[in-house]
Symmetry: C2
Subunit: 609 residues, 2 copies
């Protein structure tokens, strides 16, 4: 039943040998890896405007058209970062994420910082993208606004199931919506510009001047810039996922990355300009993109297609993380900084455990922040820029150590990228500190500590299991102890077994409540006269404590290497019959497992019906 | 920590030898056992009025003062039942509930019907009493009305904890409120009559005549009678609980029962008369008793004391069930019709498992019926009267078989009681069928079937474990199989152990993912050259299935009596370290437990840090 359900939802398992076939073309790779980055168009322009209008609400004179030059600055930064990452792909054709690059070039601490930053980012990508996708829908269907948290949770669940079915199928599912969104965005920008130049709306009023250059004003502009930098999230996804491309791997990945950056620049700048031309400002319950669509095309089919495509790509952007999070977790787990279960391939060649964990945490964040994009953004940014900065700083060291020719130019590009993103990271951490960036700083430190603790444990475990100091023991001497509740076929079966593994068998019973001592001893004499029976008194009717105490004392009396506790177990045919029997053996086994020098043996007696 | 909490909430365990000291005086016994019966005064009169006003609402001409003769008829029935039960106590001084009496005199099926009826009643007593107690409070503090379900759940929890502390302590806690309620009821009735005869309210208008004697009118009056019969609930509690009294057991119990019946008759009739004299009718949000209290004494201290006492005795009425439910469940479990865990004494000489179950189910009913007394009553009545009828019918057979003198008179009393309550039971089932009695009929049948199934299982189990056909086997031959994931100190420890219990040891490993075969074989040759190592291929990366298949096949190849699977287990020092290791051994143990002829042995390797 359970297996059938798993089969139905997740599909058949794949052979390990099928692994290398799971490679994607540039077009499919863009769908899987670029959706995170491109979809940020849906909220990045709005975040800049939100930061600026917050200044206006505080009584400052802030021209909202400043959003356009701020978006321009962010586009320049994007291009720089894309070029910088392009070099990484050639240097690391098997996947050059912040973790790999930092580990090889900057040392373990930097690598762990990168891993922690990326893992947090992937979680937040899921949360932010799903929240923004649901916002696109509730903009079009305002009645659903009050159910947005439920919609978010359902969306995460749907993506999880799609991903548990495997990478290639994911690309097949997701390519359509990604390309539909790109087309929609260009239709929106093109249509908007066309209508504007046809004179559909009056040109915006000339700038009314701005606030004097006070500290508060600069801080506000920096905060708007920092908010807009959310457009850069997902740039590193292609570099992390290089190895899912078909050969020539590096070239295909780099071309995909440049395409993605060009698309992002056009779409992000385009929507910022449109918002300025049409005088759209953020308001609760409807996104800026939805307002633009309604104004330009009316609430008709084109508008609904744009909203649907926006929702679709945002929901799928979360998919980027479902491809990357388990892959990175697996890399980190292979280095023993995360539980080794995460290093294993699941049934479908993807990393099921990590995916399920990701879905759970993201759903938790969505519920806690009530599915609100704007509240989640401050958590998002520090990690993104920390990872990008570490990745590029690592490349600088890489080129410095490299013996190839022509690396000076490359080194300069990466250094410029690292410097620029490093500065942005500090700016983001400072201007967003109180809105949530502090939480991310704490989480990063905690994660890095956890990584260290996990690795320490594995190190100790490996050393303790090492055979280096192993001395072959003489033959083991052991006593077998059989806890019994009376004398019957099950008990006798356990005693026969105990006799077969040890010459020294002791049976022990606990008298919890008016045991018929004579009857028991008579039966014992008849069936197992050669096995001594110890009767423990238990005035408080406890069963386990007297047994455990007896076994402890037995260890002191005897010169054994181990004591084997042979537990008779009654196995019923139907599951509910199991409830009709005391679970003494289960609790006893659990308690004995934690005592040293005790071996626990279950001798089952299976009911015939 | 957990043990400390248990100690704090439930108190220290008691020795079995202390059991016989847990006996109560008449006064304490009345507090523990009579509260259910007496507290029904709080809602029985109201239920009659509710049934009559439902007729008025349907356009019928129903004089509300008919509630007084109806209450009179119910009081007569109560006296008859009390006298009838009084005889039972002398015949069954160790507890003569419907189950015991029916089992000895009417056969197993009748006994199971009685047990099912009583168990359902105890659950409903908790639900109804708690709901009515909370209604008394929310009548006085109307703001709390919207939180009544939560208040109900908290009350059940409080009673459960009090009872887990033990019977004698319960009597100490509960005697005060019971006697306070009795005094309050008499103050209310006395004060009400005094004020009425002082002329505080005009005498009620003369009866306006009534509806013609149609079928519908008779049905309505019968339904009012049936509703009022809820006053009889709890009459059987004293007979069931005889053995908690101090010697002379029967006499003390009988005196207590007669006192209880006399108190009930006075209080029930008194409140019915008051409601008539003061013209009080039921309305939502305030009980009839609360309305009477307010009218007679004003909303002052006396009123609040009456409400508090009513709440207290009702909450404690639920306590009757907490004393009786586990006791009856234990009797039934000793006869193997219920899981044997329920037959065991808990830490405090009361039957903890049954109590916890009772609290859970009652809370469920309270939540489902939104803490409304009137909705719960129809579920309550059929079971109550089935149990009373069976108990008395059993006594008729008892006297019939008895060889003592003077039993004709006794037989006649019980026969009259059985006949009267039997008729009432049929009436209740018919007139309340659609309001919920049908559900009880279904539940009774299901419970009786379950009892049979449970007993069947124990019967089969006992037969299968019987030593009657046991043949002593020759010495057991067995192979030891050690599943390993590589070669290290833990694996070698398990192999050493396996060698000590069998001459035939086979190690087996599963190649899930590029195992380094040569390295493993080299290590194996170095450390365990004499133990054959089987490498199973697993292209789908499953671990358990190949192992289980291998063990199955091994059984076919070898002529063994048993196969011992020796599982190396890694036990970490800290609990969270456990999460860092695959839980392969746990799942493997669970799967192997259900295969015949397999013994499962855990050889733990304890980490030193």
């Amino acid at each position: 039943m359970f297996r059938w359900l798993k089969q139905f939802l997740i599909g058949s398992p794949l052979e390990t040998a099928a692994l290398h076939e799971q490679r994607l073309s540039k077009k499919a790779g863009l769908a899987v890896l670029a959706s995170d980055n491109l979809s940020s168009t849906a909220y990045a322009a709005e975040e800049i405007l939100l930061a600026l209008t917050a200044g206006v609400a505080a009584g400052m004179l802030v021209p909202l058209h400043y959003s356009v030059p701020i978006a321009g600055a962010i586009v320049l930064l994007t291009v720089l970062v894309a070029v910088s990452y392009g070099q990484t792909m050639y240097a690391y054709p098997t996947g050059g994420g912040a973790y790999t690059v930092a580990k090889e070039n900057l040392g373990v601490t930097a690598a762990l910082a990168g891993a922690a930053a990326l893992l947090l980012d992937y979680i937040l990508t899921v949360a932010v993208s799903v929240a923004a996708g649901v916002a696109a829908i509730t903009s079009a269907i305002p009645n659903w606004y009050s159910h947005r948290v439920l919609l978010c949770a359902l969306a995460v669940m749907a993506i999880l199931l799609a991903n548990l079915r495997g990478v290639r199928e994911s690309a097949a599912v997701f390519a359509g919506p990604v390309y539909l969104f790109i087309v929609s965005a260009f239709v929106l920008i093109g249509g908007g510009l066309l209508r504007y130049f046809q004179g559909a709306v009056p040109p915006p009023a000339p700038p009314p001047g701005h606030e004097a250059w006070s500290f508060a004003f600069v801080f506000l502009l920096l905060r708007a810039f920092a908010s807009g930098c959310v457009a850069l999230t997902g740039v590193e996804a292609v570099a992390n996922g290089v190895r899912i491309f078909r050969p020539p791997v590096s070239r295909n990945a780099a071309v995909t990355l440049y395409c993605m950056a060009a698309l992002l620049a056009t779409m992000f700048l385009g929507t910022s300009v449109l918002a300025y031309l049409y005088g759209v400002v953020p308001r609760e319950g409807e996104t800026v993109l939805s307002q633009l669509g309604r104004t330009i095309f009316g609430t008709g089919p084109i508008y609904y297609v744009i909203q649907a495509a926006t929702m679709a790509i945002l929901i799928l952007a979360a998919n980027t993380s479902f491809a990357d999070f388990p892959r990175l977790a697996s890399l980190v787990a292979q280095d023993r900084f995360l539980p080794r279960q995460l290093a294993n391939l699941g049934d479908k060649l993807v990393y099921s455990n990590g995916m399920i964990f990701l879905a759970l945490v993201a759903t938790g964040l969505l519920v806690f922040f009530q599915g609100d994009v704007h509240n989640l953004i401050p958590l998002y940014m520090v990690g993104v820029f920390l990872a990008i900065t570490l990745s590029q700083a690592g490349m600088v060291v890489h080129w410095w150590r490299s013996s190839e020719g022509g690396t000076v130019w490359r080194l300069a590009v990466n250094a410029l990228g690292a410097f620029a993103t490093g500065v942005v990271m500090v700016v983001v951490a400072v201007v967003k500190f109180r809105q949530g960036a502090w939480l991310v700083v704490v989480a990063l430190a905690a994660l890095m500590l956890l990584f260290r603790k996990i690795r320490d444990h594995y190190f100790v475990a490996t050393r303790e299991l090492s055979l280096a100091d192993y001395e072959k023991p003489a033959e083991l001497r052991h006593t077998a102890v059989v806890p019994v509740a009376g004398m019957n076929k099950m008990v006798l079966g356990a005693i026969e077994y105990a006799r077969s593994i040890s010459k020294d068998v002791i049976a022990v019973t606990v008298n919890v409540d008016n045991l018929d001592r004579e009857e028991l001893l008579e039966k014992w004499q008849a069936w197992a006269p050669d096995v001594p029976l110890v009767i423990l008194e238990s005035p408080y009717r406890a069963i386990h404590r007297p047994l455990l105490t007896f076994i402890d004392e037995l260890e002191g009396w005897r010169d054994d290497d181990v004591i084997t506790v042979v537990i008779p177990e009654f196995i019923t045919k139907r599951w509910w019959h199991h409830l009709l029997h005391n679970q003494t053996s289960l609790f006893l086994k659990a308690a004995l497992l934690f005592k040293p020098k005790i071996v626990v043996t279950s001798v089952p007696h299976h009911m015939r019906k």
